[in-house]
């Protein structure tokens, strides 16, 4: 089947477009997720993240392009592919009257290999009671049950749709630890959408940023962080920094505020920066790296000059 393509991406989007009536939810999105890597799809609410997840899981047929799982069309080969995929949906899909033990017993026969012992151990680690109906579990426990079910058949690909949504700090910590353990033990490929940029920052290998359905960024996190910088000039210096002086840095945005001038540089170039510093009128700048969250905000803010 897909044996010939085993060296290829585990999951991919090839020009995927999704329309809901006149709304363009995904606009020709192309990206690939390599085996054993962790890909984080980021975007504001309504940016198109969930539409992409639905396409990947074969639940939504793209208006154009295609999503692939293990090299095969996700829409057409959903049935075969899903045996190799674990899914943690945004909304828990365990019936509210079913408890964790029943849910595991229900799912076990659906898969050729299903590690019930491992799943029970995972629930014990999480502290999820096995005899309480899912509808009465806390938000965090529902998510943990979802993760235990998703991992029980040892999937090659784990898809998580905003897994930390509504989780408190402790539950989020437990989820990441479990995810890290899975990566360490099984090298599972992971695709996740999330709003928790601080949490995903240390786990993702690659990130994609969706803005209004378009993939505006698709890059290794390490490379991304290496090229973004924040450059600040203090209050006293602010007046002396005309915008055109900063032009060689090609700043993404320039903010003038009470505490001086601040600019985000998208492609920080050490040499260009040194030439800039050497200029006579240039006050001393302060340069710092940016967290993924800061980069995300800068990318979503767009290339504009803001005065406040």
């Amino acid at each position: 089947m897909s044996a010939a393509r085993d060296g290829g991406p585990v999951a991919a989007f090839e020009g995927v477009t999704v329309r809901y009536g006149s709304v363009l939810a995904a606009d020709a999105v192309t990206l690939a997720v390599g085996r054993g890597s962790v890909y984080a799809v980021l975007g504001r609410n309504g940016a198109g993240k969930s539409s992409l997840v639905r396409c990947l899981l074969g639940q939504q047929r793209p208006a154009a392009g295609r999503a692939t799982l293990f090299g095969d069309d996700a829409w057409r080969s959903r049935r075969e592919a899903m045996a190799r995929v674990g899914v943690v949906p945004e909304e828990p899909d365990v019936p509210p009257e079913m408890d964790a033990a029943e849910a595991l017993a229900f799912c076990a026969p659906l898969y050729p290999r299903f590690d019930r012992v491992g799943a029970h151990a995972r629930l014990a680690r999480f502290g999820v009671p096995r005899d309480v109906p899912a509808g009465r579990l806390s938000k965090g426990q529902k998510g943990q049950l979802g993760l235990a079910l998703a991992l029980a058949h040892h999937p090659e690909l784990l898809v998580l749709d905003d897994p930390t949504l509504g989780l408190d700090v402790v539950a989020r910590k437990a989820l990441y630890e479990e995810l890290v353990g899975e990566l360490a033990d099984r090298g599972t490929t992971v695709v996740l959408t999330t709003h928790d940029l601080a949490g995903v920052e240390a786990i993702a290998d690659r990130v994609g940023v969706l803005v209004e359905g378009r993939l505006v960024l698709d890059e290794e996190l390490e490379a991304l962080k290496a090229r973004f910088r924040r450059v600040r000039f203090g209050t006293a210096a602010a007046a002396a920094v005309p915008g055109e002086l900063l032009a060689p840095l090609a700043p993404l945005r320039l903010v003038r505020g009470g505490f001086g001038v601040e600019t985000v540089v998208e492609r920080f170039d050490e040499a260009a920066f040194e030439r800039l510093r050497a200029q006579e009128r240039m006050p001393e700048p302060e340069v710092s790296g940016m967290s993924l969250e800061e980069i995300f905000i800068a990318v979503n803010g767009g290339a504009q000059e803001v005065r406040r």
Binding site: K173, A204, A226
Partner: protein, 136 residues
């Protein structure tokens, strides 16, 4: 500080490098004595909640540089005795570190003299803690 490695998300240096330098620092200051066990890749990844591949990369580089040593089936240890760097490796490591430090100094507006003063002070602080006694 203690015996931990900290990750700073605002640091443009990749996380594997932050871990690598953190462990180097702990070993150099004596907080991690030669022969002491370092956490497994899985343990440290869980503790820091970072991708295990990132920790593995840092450990691999530390092992290549002779800071850590792997005893098969037993785990990873701080190398004992402290590594004697070949000159080429020593030059590479020093240059890499110096370039980063110089860039850092530059970014906070320090000149080379000021940067050298701080380096000197850091050196003296290590001396006091006895870490340099292990160097050869």
């Amino acid at each position: 500080m203690g015996r931990t490695v900290a990750i700073d998300p605002a640091d443009p240096a990749p996380i594997w490098r932050q871990i690598e330098e953190g462990v180097r620092r702990l070993a150099a200051s004596g907080a991690l004595a030669p022969g002491s066990v370092v956490p497994s890749v899985r343990e440290l990844a869980s503790e820091l909640r970072v991708n295990p591949a990132t920790v593995a990369k840092a450990y691999q580089r530390l092992t290549d540089a002779g800071v850590l040593t792997v005893r098969r089936g037993e785990g990873t240890y701080v190398a004992d005795p402290p590594p004697r760097f070949p000159e080429s490796e020593r030059r590479r490591v020093l240059r890499e570190g110096a370039t980063r430090y110089a860039a850092l100094a530059l970014s906070v507006g320090a000149d080379s003299e000021r940067a050298a003063e701080e380096l000197d002070a850091a050196w003296r602080a290590l001396d006091r803690s006895g870490a340099r006694g292990r160097e050869r």
